[in-house]
Amino acid sequence: MRQPLKLHTSVALSALGVAVFLLAWEALARSGVVPSGLLPSPSAVPAAFVAEVRAGTWQAMVLASLSHYLSGLFLGTVLGIAFGTAAAMWGVWDAAQAWVVRMLRPIPSIAWIPFAIIWFGVSESAATFLIALTVFWINYYASYAAVRGVDKDLIELGYAFGQGGLIPRLFKIVLPGALPGILSGVRAGLGQGWMTVVAAELFGIAGLGSRMSDASGLLATNIVVLYMVTIAALYGVCDFLFMQVQQRVLAWQK
């Protein structure tokens, strides 16, 4: 069985992993094996960052993408949890929507781009719609499984102590009991949401994705890498903050 690492060991190993990765990348870029236009070195990225920040482009793109991301994330998460929970709790609703879910679920969000443009135009709403769609399915399935997995004995406990009505059962037993699974879904949605941000913005909506698309058209690969790193950093911050909240909310777990 795996031995748990001490915190400082874990942090040091993580830093070492990143350093080795960057050094290997730098060495490959400088070796000339790959043309510099195809693979910029990581050391070229800070200069690109300074230039983009001075022009105000980086800030504008980050804010635009954050706006799409957060609104899509919120909508997809709330609706995914609501529909997943409802399907898990009510057999009639579950049966009624089961085949609709089976038909819609395999369709990737980017396949909805034509409809997003037809319905919303090349607008922020279209990006929000696509991100929400991705996040929705993750949260739907996570919530469905988590609610179905709530200990039936605890539901009976609710009935035994006068908390068997829909509202107390939902808020005092089902949702708290399902919370660890629901939060796992939210966390997975955080990552998938960023992936969809890029895809959604590639068709012209201003943001990190569109800037990467423009830069790649000009073979400015250092700018492409800058925005890739930006997305990774934004995801890292979101995930870290979410983990802090999750640890507090689930303090009752061993």
Binding site: A160, P168, K172, A251, W252
Partner: protein, 247 residues
């Protein structure tokens, strides 16, 4: 029906499905207010299900179940203690005890006082802020008892509450339960498969047996005795069960 009774069962039959044969039939039982009644019998005889029928969690296939409530405001007529304590892991101890009080027409101050009193009764005064995972098995069971007592029930139903505990903890909690019964005067219906536990605790012992099961013995008992009389009572019950037991 007895004028002093708090539970009256008349011709109760219990089964687990509409087509399955009944497991328990012709249960006629009056439980006097303030008494401590143990229900014993072999596994699968329907002891726990009978308790759940009284709690309103399982529908009897036939007969009538009457609970004579005192209709005090801010209480629940029946409350349950489960074998597995069944604490809500996301609530601290005090909030677990408060669970049954939520929804009752009482103010926050009274609710807090009743939670504190219930924790005092089970000697866990200082444990209100702890999470369930921080408790031992015996402490968890005490919290389950406190939660059941906090709603000030007419009847306390206990489903093999000490069955999963080690012998030392079990004996300690049995003594605690006798003290709580003396102090509160609650009616207790206590399911156990342990005859010694029944003889040690209850002033009346109902033996279920046969197939389908029914009440085969209804024994008055003087709880808390030790030595030869205690052993004799246990042996008599054991014989009573064996006479009506077929595998």
């Amino acid at each position: 029906m007895n004028a002093m009774s708090v539970i009256d069962l008349k011709g109760v039959a219990i089964g687990y499905g509409p087509d399955a044969p009944p497991v328990l039939v012709e249960v006629d039982l009056s439980v006097e207010r303030g008494s401590f009644v143990a229900i014993v019998g072999p596994s699968g005889v329907g002891k726990s299900t009978l308790l759940r029928v009284v709690a309103g969690l399982h529908k009897a296939r036939g007969g009538t179940v009457t609970i004579h409530e005192t209709n005090k405001p801010g209480h629940r007529p029946v409350s349950l203690v489960f074998q597995d304590a069944r604490l809500l892991p996301w609530r601290r101890v005090a909030k677990n005890v408060r669970f049954g009080l939520e929804g009752l027409p009482i103010g926050a101050a009274e609710r807090d006082e009743r939670v504190a009193a219930a924790l005092r009764l089970v000697r866990l005064d200082d444990y209100g802020r702890r999470w369930p995972y921080e408790l031992s098995g015996g402490q968890r069971q005490r919290v389950g008892i406190a939660r059941a007592l906090a709603v000030d029930p007419d009847i306390l139903l206990m489903d093999e509450p000490f069955g999963a505990l080690d012998a030392i903890t079990r004996h300690s909690l049995q003594d605690e339960l006798r003290r709580i019964h003396r102090e509160t005067g609650k009616t207790i219906l206590f399911v156990t498969h342990d005859l010694e536990e029944a003889v040690h605790l209850a002033d009346r012992i109902i033996v279920l047996g046969g197939s389908p099961a029914r009440i085969v013995r209804d024994v008055r008992n003087d709880p808390g005795r030790e030595g030869g009389v205690f052993r004799e009572q246990v042996e008599q019950l054991r014989t009573g069960i064996a006479d009506n037991y077929s595998i």
